[in-house]
Symmetry: C2
Subunit: 218 residues, 2 copies
């Protein structure tokens, strides 16, 4: 792996900083289904996803969950952000949706580089800006959009990720992504099926009219 | 005003950077009620609120609004963040809730300092981390909490800001903060009044039982 291609700040580092990064870089594999909490300090750092897929989720006090954002190969992510940026004070859980391989700059190294290098700190600004944008868009979705629009948006995203319109996804998993109840999702999907937008079968949702699903999300 | 007290990175700047900051610092007054959109590039930069109060709000396509976060004297804020951090791509509006005085480091100067100084870039990391935390907490509120808990939290916040339990606030303004409808807020407030938690009169909400309002928010 070419570090300068994947960590955009790499070329701006001094030789000593580059050596520190290379020496301390950790390769990690995260099996599908594994959970990491942002309070687990031993998995903390700036993480480059080589390949795989993760979702960041919030849990409610009652155990409901909702997906905040997703990460794919090539993405950078601050794991355990609270121990890297003092002002970050929410507790997020990461779940591997597929077997994932990543390289991690441990938190202590990351802190050193952030303090020394404007390029590293600026890269992290870009990262935080991108997360902030995603999370604000989530608020807009939750506040202003109906459940039909949110289910349609999720199905279109899944179809894009998986490269197929026939999605092996349960109503419960959709509810977990959207922070909703399974019954609400089932009712919404049945209405979409009655309108000819999707077709439902056991453990599977097939997109029948992508154009109208897109319209719904706009 | 002592710049080193209010811009925590000031001491870490070189004399040339300090001179640039001082030369280009702009004092601005924003009258109560004034609106600034994050697309107005001529008010862009890193802004220190000297005194006053602003709220950052999102509008829906249908003209509904919701408060994302609030800013007070001493707070730092990235105005027009998209032109400072490329990855920020949401459109937020700032509204002065009180007459506000602030000092602004214009966007171009801010970009220069961010690129040169790890201290400035790290300060902006802290700022973005803090906003990200607030916005994630907002999602948790909207997704998991009932309207009674959200109204109670807003009333307690207002009482703290204003230093009084007798709040000159309309149901419509509460609805604007919470991204809800006035009718929903009125229904919620009447239920809180029936339970002895608040007292309603024309254009005013008085907090009668702060302890139980706090319980509601927990």
């Amino acid at each position: 792996m070419r570090l300068d291609e994947h960590f955009p700040f790499y070329r701006a580092l001094t030789p000593a900083q580059q050596a520190l990064l290379c020496d301390r870089l950790i390769e990690q594999t995260i099996p599908k289904g594994a959970l990491m909490r942002s309070t687990d300090t031993d998995s903390a750092g700036l993480v480059l996803i080589d390949r795989g897929q993760l979702r960041a989720l919030l849990y409610s006090a009652e155990g409901r969950e909702t997906t905040l954002y997703r990460l794919f190969g090539g993405d950078l992510c601050l794991f355990c952000a609270p121990c890297l940026i003092d002002t970050i004070a929410f507790d997020v859980t990461l779940q591997a949706e597929k077997d994932t391989v990543c390289r991690r700059i441990p938190a202590a190294v990351c802190r050193t580089l952030m303090a020394q290098s404007a390029a590293v700190a600026s890269q992290i600004n870009a990262l935080l800006g991108s997360r902030l944008t995603t999370v604000v868009q989530q608020i807009e979705q939750v506040m202003w959009r109906g459940m039909d629009a949110r289910v349609a948006a999720l199905l279109l995203q899944e179809a894009q990720i998986e490269g197929t319109r026939s999605l092996p996804i349960t109503h419960e998993i959709i509810a977990h992504h959207l922070g909703s109840h399974r019954e609400v999702v089932t009712r919404t999907l049945r209405a979409l099926q009655a309108d000819g937008l999707v077709e439902l079968s056991r453990g599977r949702v097939t997109l029948r009219d992508v154009a109208r699903l897109r319209e719904l999300t706009q």
